[in-house]
């Protein structure tokens, strides 16, 4: 029996690694126990211009990758230039020079009039002569809907009756606008943005989500389809340790069981996702990975294998940036060890850019390298 490559972590980097292992013809098991930074992401895919591989994988995850910089809107009235976005986010570049409607259902966390003014005053809008105006949209049924979390509001809007009603309303409002911009409420289980676009006869899309919003939830849903299509085994469970077993590795789970692995790809996320944590004072390192590893962490290029005051590091940097830089040092093949088949990608790498496109790209690279162990 050939042991699989075990990927620890199911965010963008972990999924990319599993995808790459599967495409190389290897067996992959993806271990995941909870939501991480990918589930918190905004629907905006920051990072450098992506490779063809990244584009192909991104598309199957419901993302849109453009060869040129596109433009997307945020909840706070800003416009961002990016290569990738969740397909539900409205592509502003396509609407440059036109008139966009910012819908306003009257929610507390969304002021359509002020947002329209803010978008119109951005550098992008001024340089492309794109105008935004507020479009009132009678959508709320109760005071509770005015204040509920955006995710819950999205779940409500995608119920069949509400979705149908919304489609009917859209056919009547926003005359004279070329596209309609919604808050992050357009579908968790359904692709509501696409449905509404055809109902309204013009593009309908979202702004970026906040943490815990719909974009992250959609990633979670689409991920399962991608993994199933590539016959990656998705296993729920938390890893407690990675241990040496001769020339191979063993991933020990919280329940005490162990998974033998030809190679292990650590896609556990960075500090934000909980892949690394700060420890209380006392003996040992000031920070550690969320699971026991046979290798040491790196902070600012130095190994954290002795009692180190993280507070001291942070005071020296005058901020929390050192926490973000925490991770595992890897070589150009994403190997985190010179003698063990242990790889790291995404935010788990020390001091690398924390972006979706960087996570996908490094995940693919680490997956390929791990598959090469076969």
């Amino acid at each position: 029996m050939t042991e699989p490559v075990v990927i620890v972590g199911g965010g963008f980097a972990g999924v990319a690694a599993a995808w790459a292992v599967a495409r190389s013809g290897g067996a992959a098991v993806l271990l995941t126990d909870r939501a991480g930074a990918s589930e918190l992401y905004s629907g905006i895919c920051d990072g450098d211009a992506p490779s063809d591989d990244v584009s192909a994988l991104a598309q199957s995850l419901g993302l849109v990758i453009t060869p040129e910089l596109g433009a997307v809107a945020t909840r706070e009235g800003l416009i961002r230039r990016v290569y990738g976005r969740d397909s539900a986010l409205l592509d502003l570049e396509e609407q440059a020079g036109k008139q966009l409607g910012v819908v306003d259902p009257g929610r507390d966390d969304w002021d359509g009039e002020l947002l329209a003014r803010s978008f119109s005053a951005t550098r992008w809008a001024r340089s492309t002569n794109t105008r935004f105006r507020c479009v009132a949209l009678p959508l709320l049924k109760s005071g509770a809907e005015r204040r509920m979390a955006p995710y819950d509001f999205a779940r409500l809007l995608e119920t069949p009756e509400r979705a149908a009603e919304l489609a009917r309303t859209l056919a009547e409002v926003g005359g004279g606008t070329d596209a309609l911009l919604f808050g992050p409420w357009l579908g968790v289980e359904r692709e509501l943005a696409a449905q509404l676009s055809s109902a309204a006869g013009r593009p309908v899309g979202e702004t970026a989500s906040g943490p815990g919003g719909v974009a992250g939830a959609r990633f979670g849903r689409r991920r399962e389809a991608v993994l199933a299509a590539h016959r990656v085994e998705l296993r729920a469970g938390a890893a407690r340790a990675v241990e040496e077993r001769g020339s191979t590795l063993s991933v020990v789970l919280e329940d005490g069981s162990a998974l033998a692995a030809r190679a292990v790809v650590l896609a556990i996320g960075g500090f934000v996702a909980g892949g690394f944590r700060v420890n209380d004072g006392g003996v040992g390192s000031a920070a550690s990975a969320s699971l026991e590893l046979p290798i040491a962490l790196t902070l600012e290029g130095e190994l954290m294998d002795r009692a180190t005051s993280l507070a001291g590091q942070i005071a020296r940097h005058g901020g929390f940036e050192p926490l973000e830089a925490l991770g595992l040092a890897v070589d150009e093949r994403f190997a985190a060890s010179t003698r063990l088949p242990l790889f790291a990608c995404g935010d788990a790498q020390a001091g690398k850019p924390r972006t979706v496109l960087a996570a996908l790209s490094s995940g693919i690279g680490a997956g390929r390298a791990a598959a090469g162990v076969f």
């Binding site: 920051d46 002020l114 970026a208 943490p211 005058g318």
Partner: protein
């Protein structure tokens, strides 16, 4: 332009400093019909006034040596309650005695006798008399107290939001004709050939605008900055003899106790855990300070000093979530040889005529609770100099919002506000909460809650910008406590920046910069709290920012 040194003068009085004494003097002058200009290089209540323990106490510590000070403190606490009833809230204190046997009994008897004396002054400030409690009673009142309590006494004090107090004074002064310039540095105190002062030169730190204003008297009310300010007129530091004492507070995300509980620190000082507005406050330290006065931040050592003292009495304090720190520097009167705590909390007016600078005065020393009295003394001197014989009325003339009571339920019924929003709004604005309500009724969009932790509505943010001299997100936060709750501004700071930018006619990108300035400052003030839990919160807040601004936007705020 060269300003005339011999009149006519632009103003009667120039006040430098927008803390509680500066705004207090500006208001007192305005009430007596004197024309005033006030200059503040940061924001109103930026320094010690907005970073104090937030108490209008009766001065029990002076009882044994100087009971007159206790009398005047209690009397003035009564006056402040009268002019700003909405801003004060009762804080009952608990002084526990630990141990057993004769020693504990003697100590408890001592406290009992001491606070019996203090009781005589309590009616002046609507305070309740002290109560002597047995150990069992004490634990029933505060179940979180550590075992081994022998007994204790309660005593009554009043809390206040120091920043709101300063804003109320500044706004009242403006409404009575004073010109209040915030974010404007005085760059020089102008003096004639004979040394007398006749005005100031200033520079607005936001717009770069410079100018000169002349006046018949200049007041240096800059607290710990006093020696620096005196230097702007060419005076030696020793002309304003203060010994700057840094004090920090830690605030926790909720009220943990019914009483403010006193505890003893590792070096024998009295510190406390106090329920204050909707949170708990640990305070305070007192250490000589020689650092940057514009950047006073609690250190990890200071935070640990407070926690280790309080946890001996109230262990659960460690499991509560610390969400921020305050740091301020007291302009304590100079003294050599004593510990910081032993220095006098008295105040003093320096008439710089003795330094060849007639017409220039410095206010040094003092404390939040005595601001009104100190301001009255200063204004009496100014009035006499300027031939004004109107009596002081700051003890009887209501501060903005203090003239009449508003029932927060009225705001709920008339404005559809949630009860907690209404209660907090009424606390900050008193009767003027009706003006904020009017905004919401004119434009229902402004009823939206922007900061859900405090909570703060869009109407209140716009009100602060239009009527309370706020120009940045930090300023709004100082006036409304926006972004100081559990989420550390993660849910509201960016939106607040957008609203401030819109209200001031700035671009969205400039609004984002204001938000980031606030968030970065707040994060720096939390650095000293770093613990595993705290670090996770910071992580979430970073993720939130990144979602909005992207990987590089965090620093620059560029789109």
């Amino acid at each position: 332009m060269s300003a005339p040194a011999d009149g006519p003068f632009d103003r009667d009085v120039i006040v430098i400093g927008g803390g509680v004494n500066g705004t207090g003097v500006a208001r007192d002058c305005a009430l007596r019909g004197l024309t005033v200009a006030l200059f503040e290089r940061n924001d109103i209540a930026f320094g010690a006034s907005g970073n104090s323990s937030g108490m209008i106490h009766g001065g029990p510590r002076y009882l044994t040596n100087d009971p007159d000070v206790t009398y005047s403190s209690c009397l003035d606490s009564g006056h402040i309650q009268h002019v700003a009833p909405h801003l004060l809230f009762r804080i009952p204190f608990l002084m526990p005695v630990f141990g057993s046997g004769l020693g504990a009994r003697i100590l408890l008897n001592g406290y009992d006798a001491f606070f019996s004396l203090y009781d005589k002054y309590q009616p002046l400030k609507r305070g309740k008399p002290h109560v002597r409690l047995a150990g069992d009673d004490l634990r029933r009142l505060e179940p979180g107290l550590v075992g081994g309590v022998f007994g204790g006494v309660t005593f009554d004090e009043w809390g206040i939001d120091g920043a709101r107090l300063c804003i109320a004074n500044a706004v009242d002064a403006v409404e009575r004709g004073a010109r209040v310039h915030v974010h404007t540095s005085v760059t020089e105190i102008l003096r004639r050939d004979d040394g007398s002062a006749y005005g100031v030169a200033y520079r607005n730190r936001h717009t770069g605008e410079i100018g000169r204003v002349t006046a018949r008297a200049v007041v240096n009310a800059t607290g710990a900055w006093a020696p620096i300010t005196a230097g702007l007129g060419g005076l030696e530091r020793t002309t304003t003899p203060i010994r700057p004492g840094k004090g920090i507070h830690v605030f926790l995300d909720r009220r943990l106790t019914n009483y403010a509980i006193m505890a003893s620190s590792i070096d024998g000082r009295q510190v406390f855990l106090m329920p204050w507005q909707n949170m708990s406050v640990l305070g305070t330290t007192d250490d000589d300070y020689y650092g940057d006065l514009d950047d006073v931040i609690a250190s990890r050592d200071e935070v640990e000093y407070l926690f280790q003292a309080v946890e001996r009495v109230f262990p659960a304090v460690r499991s509560a979530r610390a969400i921020g720190t305050w740091g301020g520097v007291r302009p304590t009167l100079y003294g050599w040889g004593g510990n910081e705590d032993e220095l006098s909390r008295e105040h003093r007016i320096v008439d710089h005529a003795e330094h060849r600078a007639d017409g220039l005065y410095s206010m040094i020393g003092g404390k939040l609770a005595s601001y009104r009295l100190f301001s009255e003394e200063m204004t009496d001197l100014l009035a006499k100099r300027l031939g004004n014989d109107r009596p002081c009325s700051t003890h009887s003339s209501p501060l903005p919002g203090g003239a009449e009571a508003v029932d927060p339920m009225q705001l709920v019924l008339d404005g559809g506000m949630e009860a907690v929003t209404a209660t907090r709004l009424e606390y900050r604005h008193g009767a003027r909460s009706l003006r904020v309500l009017e905004r919401m009724q004119r434009n229902p969009r402004e009823a939206a809650v922007v900061c859900p932790c405090e909570p703060v509505t869009e109407a209140e943010i716009r009100y602060a910008v239009e009527h309370e001299l706020a120009a940045t997100v930090d300023d709004v936060s100082r006036r409304t406590r926006l972004g100081l709750g559990s989420c550390g501004g993660m849910r509201c700071a960016l939106r607040c920046g957008r609203i401030v930018a819109d209200a001031r006619g700035l671009s969205p990108e400039q609004g984002t910069k204001l938000s980031l300035a606030f968030l970065n400052g707040a994060r720096r003030r939390r650095l000293s709290l770093l613990s595993p839990d705290q670090a996770r919160q910071e992580a979430l807040s970073l993720a939130s920012l990144r979602a909005e601004l992207g990987p590089d936007g965090q620093r620059t705020g560029d789109d």
